[in-house]
């Protein structure tokens, strides 16, 4: 936080570092530099966050006309609005006149955004609708669309999760999500009314690279017994050692990867639906799910997952200090801030059908594990801070230090794809191996190396 000790942000030659990444990944290795390098970060902001579908809000955050939340796509602040027709707009938060930010709050309700500098005023659809002293200053009205706030050209939602792309040249959201969309449908579609946010996001800044968090939630089950062992020691978690044995990873393409757990095998046959208690489970209506989705949510529900690039979730049973337990659902976004800095945005989700007290219990227990004060997440933040330091290390760079992703390569555990799997993507029958993490990074590399970067000004 104090300038003099801010982390160093080295800058490499991008083509060289991507070539080294390609060579490394062929051998399941990754060069440390990608976790703290300003050339890499700049390219990520342009090539990944500027050209992919990125989560911006859940519809339950903006239920009414005029509602808005301020969010980010990469480094760009965007206003996500619900207009008078019920439509969702994702707008740049920079005035077209001199760039002043027209929205100075995180959320609110307004039909208009008036710039505080000269008073240019925009409707919540982005259109410019007011310029002070119009006749004397401009003579005739400016074209409201031409001079409106920049609009994300593609906005779509899936089960209330709103995604936007700053590039028009992207495949439809459904195609982009692929099997991850299918699994998201299963996660939040256990009831036709779905889930809602329990409140605004818990936000906090960590001196870690956004990829490390995304990779962790893609399926790093290997860290759990070690980093989070304290939770088992004090009796608020159990079976942390079993993740390798009972992990059921999924690779869905496009860098999306989820980790299931064979709950009904690992815990007991009655531990269906992640262990949801009867008062929740009795409301479930699986009529919207297909046969494989029903199988997964009943027996093998995913505990974590990452939708590329930076949306992840956790769902699992959690206990508080009084012995109360809840199955908690937290969606979280890893906002890139700098080469070695991210901001965590963590939402607790509850079922729309839950009453206030039941929803509060789930949200509070969720926060006790995942969030800035969460007894699980606290420890992750510290572990993740190592990679950017290693990446900035002159010694590590000189030695061309690589990170080890070869876990499964000589293991006796069969990690081959499950040939009986009838759902989308690839499913494996063990949590050992780092296939999901590699899936994430291989897609990252593909996007970073894609040659069509015509939108970039500096190349």
């Amino acid at each position: 936080m104090n300038e003099t000790t801010a982390p160093a942000w080295p800058r490499s030659d991008l083509d060289d570092i991507l070539a080294r990444t390609e060579t490394g990944l062929a051998d399941d290795l990754l060069p440390v530099e990608i976790f703290n390098d300003s050339a890499v970060f700049q390219a990520e902001v342009e090539r990944i966050f500027g050209r992919s579908w990125v989560f911006v809000a859940h519809e339950s955050e903006i239920p009414n006309p005029g509602d808005f939340v301020q969010r980010r796509i990469g480094l760009d602040p965007v206003i996500v609005t619900r207009d008078g027709e019920g439509g969702i707009n994702v707008l740049s938060n920079y005035c077209r006149h001199r760039g002043t930010q027209v929205c100075q709050t995180d959320q609110g309700n307004s039909r208009f955004f008036k710039c505080n500098y000269h008073g240019w005023t925009y409707a919540n659809t982005g259109e410019l609708v007011g310029t002070p002293f119009l006749r004397r200053a401009y003579g005739e009205p400016l074209d409201g669309k031409e001079w409106g706030l920049l609009r994300a050209p593609r906005v779509d939602s899936r089960h209330g999760f709103v995604f936007a792309s700053l590039s028009a040249d992207v495949e439809p959201l459904g195609d982009y999500l692929g099997g991850a969309g299918w699994m998201l449908d299963a996660l939040v579609g256990l009831h036709p009314d779905g889930m809602r946010v329990a409140g605004p996001p818990d936000r906090y800044q960590v001196k870690a690279n956004w990829k490390t968090a995304a990779e962790n939630f893609a399926g790093d089950i290997y860290h759990v017994p070690n980093l989070h062992g304290s939770m088992q020691e004090i009796g608020i978690a159990g079976g942390l050692d079993a993740g390798g044995e009972f992990g059921r990873p999924y690779e869905f393409g496009n860098g999306h990867a989820f980790m299931g757990i064979a709950w009904t095998t690992a815990v007991h046959p009655g531990f269906e639906f992640w262990g949801y208690p009867p008062e929740i489970k009795d409301h479930f209506d699986l009529s919207g799910l297909d046969e494989m989705q029903v199988h997964v949510v009943t027996h093998d529900g995913p505990i974590v997952g990452t939708i590329f690039p930076n949306l992840s979730f956790y769902r699992g049973i959690a206990m508080d200090g009084s012995g109360l337990s809840s199955v908690i659902t937290s969606f979280r976004q890893w906002q890139p801030v700098g080469p070695g800095e991210l901001e965590v945005w963590s939402w607790q989700f509850v079922w729309t059908f839950q009453d206030e007290q039941s929803a509060l219990q789930d949200a509070v227990i969720g926060q006790m594990q995942f969030g800035s004060a969460g007894v699980a997440e606290q420890d992750d933040t510290v572990a993740w801070e190592g990679a950017p330091r290693a990446a900035a290390s002159p010694w590590a760079r000189r030695e061309r230090m690589m990170f080890h992703f070869q876990q499964g390569n000589k293991s006796e555990v069969d990690q081959s794809p499950d040939l009986t799997w009838k759902g989308p993507g690839i499913r494996r029958l063990t949590g050992f191996g780092e296939h999901n993490q590699l899936h994430f990074y291989r897609h990252w590399l593909r996007v970073m190396q894609a040659r069509d970067h015509s939108a970039e000004g500096d190349r």
């Binding site: 936000r203 304290s230 004060a373």
Partner: protein, 176 residues
């Protein structure tokens, strides 16, 4: 101690003020010195300790959402957190952060019962974690309710209003 007044702003007697200010100072020192078990003795059994989520909003009264929390603990949850720290494997606090809690701007007013006092204070926590080359500052205000007991004052409720909307410290592994 003074009885509540219609405005609710009347200051309490000087000895009550001193006792409360001493309580807050003692609490801060116990936590800075890693004496969490002694601090725990200062908590009432019906403790409610909350940190609501704050956002940039207009009007200002809309900033704090008292139905959404970073943390909402009863005494048993606090016990659980201390138990975890005591394992030596709560890695965000291994080794424990070196902290300095500065408590100030203490205002004391009568509480809603004869044995209760309400306290508003400002807290600035300086935190240096492990081998971090930098420090973190955690600024907040606290709205506390204390109860007089035969063994002295006990903390009944604490609401921590963080100054920041997005924390610049990577976790709330330290007590506020």
């Amino acid at each position: 101690m003074s009885a509540p007044t219609p405005t609710g702003t009347t200051a309490v007697d000087a000895d009550v003020y001193t006792a409360v200010a001493t309580f807050l100072a003692r609490e801060a020192r116990l936590l800075d010195e890693g004496r969490e078990e002694e601090w725990f003795e200062l908590l009432a059994d019906d403790l409610l300790y909350t940190i609501p989520i704050r956002q940039a909003a207009e009007p200002r009264t809309a900033e704090i959402n008292r139905s959404a929390f970073r943390l909402r603990d009863n005494k048993m949850n606090v016990r659980t957190r201390l138990n975890r720290l005591a394992t030596g494997h709560a890695y965000s606090e291994v080794p424990p952060s070196r902290t300095m809690r500065l408590v100030g701007s203490v205002e004391v007013s009568p509480g809603p019962g004869p044995d209760l006092v309400d306290v508003s204070s400002a807290l600035l926590v300086y935190r240096q974690r492990g081998i971090d080359p930098h420090f973190d500052l955690i600024p907040c205000r606290r709205n506390d309710r204390l109860r007089w007991t035969g063994e002295g004052l006990r903390l009944v409720s604490r609401e921590v209003i963080l100054t920041e909307t997005s924390l610049l410290t990577p976790n709330l592994g330290v007590l506020l």
